[in-house]
Amino acid sequence: MKSLAGIVLAGLFVLDQSGLCLAQPAPAAAPSTRDAALADDAQRLADKIDEIIARRWKAEQVIPAAPVDDAAFMRRVTLDIAGKIPAVSDLHEFLDDSAAYKRRHLVERLLESPAYITHFSSVWRAVMLPEADTDLQMRALVPGFEAWLRKQFSANASFDAVVREILTVPVDPRLAANPLQPQSDVTPVGFYQAKQLKPENLAAGTARMFLGVRIECAQCHDHPFDDWKREQFWGYAAFFAGVERDQNAAAGALDAIKELFGGRSLSIPGTDKRVVPTYLNGDSPQLKFRDSPRTILADWMISEQNAYFARATVNRLWGQFFGIGIVNPVDDFTAQNPPSHPELLDELARQFVAHKFDFKFLIRAITASKTYQLSSRESDKSQQNPRLFARMALKGLSAGQLFDSISQATGFHESVTNRNPFGMMNNTPREEFVRMFEDSNETITERQTTILQALSMMNGQFVADATGLEKSAALVAIADFPLMTTPERIEALYLAAFSRKPRPDELDRLVLYVDTGGPAKDTRKALSDVFWALLNSSEFLFNR
C-alpha cells in the first residue's frame, strides 16, 4: 500500500519527463517469441555466472553478502541502465508489483526506455572518445558522435556492426555520401578527428577499445612488461596508413583528408624500416590495389579468428555493471594481468557471439544473476577482495549520472528540456556541473572526491537550489503538503534521495531534529537541512 508521502510524490513525479517513460511501453515492444527464447538464454547465462562465481567462493571460503531488497535493486539497476536514480512513483509501482519475474520485467522496461539509449550513448562516447573529456576542441565532436551512438543504441545494432562502421566509415570527403555536406547524416567520423587522423593514435585507440590491449607504449620502444614489439605496433597502425592529411590543416579538420587504398605501408619513426598492415596476431593480409585496409581490418576485428574482440567487449560491459572487470583494468589484457575468472570470461564471450553481439542480451543475463543482485554492505571480512564479487562494489556516479540523479530527486527538469538529443551542447547547468565533476579516474570503484567537488555539493548554486525552499519542487511539495506527519515527510525525502525508507533509528533521530526546527527554529528549514545532508552523503553519491 502506498503511503501518503508516496501519493504526494507519485503525483509530483507523474510529470516526470525524464525519459524513463515506464508507464507506457510501446506496443511494438511486446516480447515476441524470439525474445522469450532469448530471455531463457539470459537466465541460463545468469545461472552460469552464479555457478562459476560461487565455485570460487567455495574454494576461497568466502561467505557472500546478502541479496538486495527490491528497492535497492531498482536503484542500482536504474542507475546502471538508465543513468539515474528511479522516480519515486516508479519505485512505488515496482515495490507494489507482485508479479513473479518483476526484476526481469523492470530490466526489460529500462532497456526499452529512451534513458537507456541516452545513458549508454554517453558511457560509450566516453569510452570511444575519451579525448573529449579533457580537450576543449575535441568536445565539439561530442554531439555528433553521441547522436550517431544513439542511433545505434535505439536500433539495438549489434556491437560488431557498430565497430565495423567505426572502422570503415569514409573519412575522405570525396568518398562520403554527400561530399558537400559530409556531416549531414550522423556518422562516427568524430572518432577519426578525436584521434587527429594519425595512424598511431587510431591504432592505440582501436586496440585499447576493441581488443582490450594497451599497445601504445610499443609506439616508441618494445613494451616493457609485455610481448608487444615496436614493429607490431606500427604494423597494426599501418592499417590506417592510407589516411593522409594536409599537415598545415588544423588538427582534426576533415576537409584536408585524402584516403588511398591498396597495400599501404608505414615507416617506423626514427628508423628506415617500413612495415605493412599486420594484425596483432602477426598475420598480414594480402591487400590488392583497390582494397581498403580499414575494411580488411574491420573484417578481421569482428571475426571469430580474433579471440580478443568479444572478450574485451564483455569484460568492459561486466566492468560497467560490477565496477571491476574480470580482467581489470578492463582494457589491459596482458599475460601479467590475468582474468579473475577465465572460464566466465570465455562463457560470456561465447554467449555474446552466439547472440549476435547483442548488448541487451548480456545486460539481461548480468542483471538477472544472483551475483549482480548481492548487497553492497559488507557482512563478512571474506568479502573484501573485490575480484571475487562477493559483495557489490560501490560505484562512483559519472558526472552525468550525478546531475541527472539530483534532478530526479529534486524535481529539476532542465536536464531534459534543454537537452535536445540531437542538438548542440550549450552552457546549461548540466554542462557546468558535468565539467566540475568530470573524473579521469578509470576505476569507478576507486572514485574519489575532490575539495572543489565537495564545496560545490555543499555550497554551489545548483545543489543550493535543489535543497532550498524556493526552487526545489520536491522539497516544497514535501514540506508544504498539509496532511503529512513529520515521519512521512522524512520518509518522502528518503525515498526521493535514497530510493528507500528510513530505518527506525534514522527516523527517530531526524524526527526530533525536524520537530525542534533545528538551529533556525523552523521545521521547513530543518527539512531542507535533512535533504541537504541526504544529497551530500555517500549513500546518495554512489551506486550501491
Binding site: L136, E446, N459, N536, R544
Partner: protein
C-alpha cells in the same frame, strides 16, 4: 591492494562514529569531527620547504630568453644584456629578472627526447614517460605529499590557471589519489590570460554557505551528514567513503579557515600589485607568494597566453619574436618581483622557484618566423631556496643545435629540485599497479654544483 587513501584515513569504526555523531542529540559541535580527523593524521611530517613552479605552457624559446646566440644566424633579433652576475647575459626583454640573477641557476643544457606536447608535458611534470597502466602523479602531488601537513587549513597543492588539455594526466595526482590533487584556481584558457577577468577566477568558488543558510545551520547539516556517513561507511569500508569524508573535511576546514583570506589579493599594496603585473600570471605569482607565506608547500602558476601573442603560450611556431617579447614582458616583472618579494619577507631561502616548460624551441628559424618544438638542447632555471644562484650550468653549441657541455636529463633536473627542497629523490610511493615508484627516476644524477 591498498590505495594510499586507506592508510592516510583508516576507516573510523562504527563506535568512533557514534561517539562523534551524536545519535539523536545534536549538541556536538563540528570541531569534534574535525579534531578526530586531526588525530588520524597525527603522523604529520615536519614542514620543510616550499616550491613555486612557473610552468611555461607550450615550450619557451631558450634562444630568445636565457641562451642567446647574437653572433649566429639562428640567433634572431633579440639582444643580450648584462645581469647582476658578471659574465651572465640574458634577453633584453627580461631586464628586471636580470637584476635577480644572483638567485638563479640557469641550466642551459637540458637534453630530453620528447618533442610532442602531450608526452613532453607528461615527462617534465611527472618525471616519467607515460607507460602502460601506471598513473604517475604530477610533481605538485608528489612533492606536496612529502612536504605538506595533513592538518594544514589550506590545501598542500594549489595550481593557478593550469592549461591541462594537451596532457591532462600530467596535471593530476595519478596513483596518489584525489587527496593529493591540486586545488585549482584561475582559468587555464589562454584567452583568460589575455583579458581582465582574472581577478574573479583567482578566488576559490563556493566557500560560503548558500544564501539564507545560517552558520549554526551549516554546523547541524554537517552533523546530520556525519550521522549518515557513520552508518554508511561502517557497512561500506573502502576508498569511496574514505575519500568522500576526506574531501568534505578538507572543504569544511577551508570554509572555516582564516587562512583562506590568502586568496583575497585586495589587502596587498597597489604598488606591489602593479609591480607583479596586472594580469592573471602576475597576480597569480602574487597569490603564490601569499600561499607560500601561509605554509602551502607547492604552488604552480601557468603562463598560457598574453595580450598580443596569439595561440597557446610559448608555442611560437609563427611570429616567434613578437610573441616571445610579449610573453617576456609579462614574465619578467612577475618573476623578478616574486623573487624580490620572497627575499624581502625572508622566504626566499626556504622557497625553491622553478621555471620550465615541456621543451625548448628549434634554433633554426622557420619560414613563418617561428620556432618549432626542440628537446635536444634547451633551458630551465632554478632559483631561491637550496640553490647556489648566480651561475650557468652547461653549454650549447654555437648554433644552439646540440648540448656542448654537461647534458642534463629531466630526471637529473627534477632530482636536483628534490634535493633543494629537502626531499629524498629515492623515496618510494606505491603505484596503482602495486609497483613501488621512486620520487625521481633512480638513474638520476643530480646537478651537485647547482645546490647550495
Amino acid at each position: 591492494m591498498k590505495s594510499p587513501i586507506h592508510s592516510a584515513f583508516p576507516a573510523l569504526s562504527r563506535r568512533d562514529w557514534l561517539k562523534l555523531s551524536a545519535c539523536g542529540t545534536f549538541g556536538l559541535s563540528m570541531s569534534g569531527w574535525l579534531s578526530a580527523m586531526a588525530d588520524e593524521a597525527r603522523a604529520t611530517k615536519e614542514r620543510k620547504r616550499s616550491c613555486i613552479l612557473l610552468w611555461m605552457s607550450g615550450g619557451p624559446s631558450q634562444m630568445d630568453t636565457f641562451d642567446l646566440k647574437p653572433d649566429h644566424e639562428n640567433g634572431g633579433s633579440f639582444k643580450p644584456i648584462d645581469t647582476s652576475v658578471p659574465g651572465i647575459q640574458i634577453s633584453e626583454h627580461l631586464p628586471k629578472l636580470a637584476q635577480q640573477m644572483q638567485h638563479c641557476a640557469v641550466v642551459r643544457s637540458m637534453l630530453t627526447k620528447e618533442g610532442d606536447h602531450t608526452r613532453a608535458t607528461y615527462l617534465l611534470r611527472t618525471g616519467y614517460l607515460p607507460q602502460g597502466p601506471v598513473q604517475y602523479p604530477t610533481l605538485g602531488s608528489v612533492w606536496s605529499h612529502q612536504l605538506g601537513s595533513e592538518e594544514s587549513e589550506l590545501p598542500n597543492f594549489v595550481s593557478i590557471a593550469p592549461y591541462r588539455f594537451l596532457s591532462p594526466a600530467a596535471f593530476g595526482p595519478g596513483f596518489l589519489g584525489p587527496k593529493y590533487a591540486p586545488l585549482i584556481v584561475g582559468d587555464g584558457n589562454p584567452n583568460v590570460g589575455r583579458n581582465a577577468d582574472y581577478e574573479k577566477t583567482l578566488q576559490v568558488k563556493n566557500l560560503a554557505a548558500p544564501a539564507g543558510v545560517i552558520a549554526e545551520q551549516t554546523d547541524s547539516r554537517l552533523e546530520l551528514l556525519a550521522g549518515l556517513e557513520a552508518d554508511f561507511a561502517a557497512g561500506h569500508p573502502g576508498t569511496p567513503s574514505a575519500s568522500h569524508r576526506a574531501a568534505y573535511l578538507q572543504a569544511v576546514r577551508m570554509m572555516r579557515s582564516e587562512a583562506v583570506k590568502a586568496f583575497d589579493l585586495s589587502p596587498e599594496p597597489e604598488a606591489l600589485r602593479d609591480a607583479y603585473g596586472r594580469n592573471q600570471f602576475g597576480q597569480g605569482c602574487l597569490l603564490a607568494r601569499r600561499l607560500v607565506e601561509r605554509g602551502v608547500p607547492f604552488v604552480e602558476v601557468s603562463l598560457n597566453g598574453v595580450q598580443g601573442a596569439p595561440g597557446l603560450g610559448w608555442d611560437t611556431h609563427q611570429d616567434n619574436f613578437g610573441a616571445v617579447q610579449k610573453l617576456s614582458e609579462t614574465l619578467d616583472p612577475a618573476w623578478a618581483t616574486l623573487l624580490d618579494d620572497l627575499k624581502t619577507r625572508g622566504l626566499l631561502d626556504s622557497t625553491l622557484v622553478i621555471w620550465m616548460g615541456e621543451f625548448g624551441r628549434t634554433p633554426k628559424i622557420n619560414d613563418m618566423k617561428g620556432r618549432d618544438h626542440f628537446p635536444a638542447a634547451w633551458t630551465t632555471v632554478l632559483c631561491g631556496g637550496g640553490i647556489r644562484g648566480g651561475q650557468v650550468v652547461g653549454k650549447t653549441s654555437p648554433d644552439g643545435m646540440t648540448v656542448a657541455e654537461r647534458p642534463v636529463a629531466v630526471a637529473d633536473f627534477l632530482a636536483t629540485a628534490c634535493l633543494a627542497l629537502g626531499i629524498d629523490p629515492m623515496g618510494q610511493n606505491t603505484s596503482n599497479v602495486g609497483r613501488p615508484i621512486r620520487i625521481a627516476d633512480p638513474n638520476a644524477k643530480p646537478i651537485e654544483e647547482a645546490l647550495a
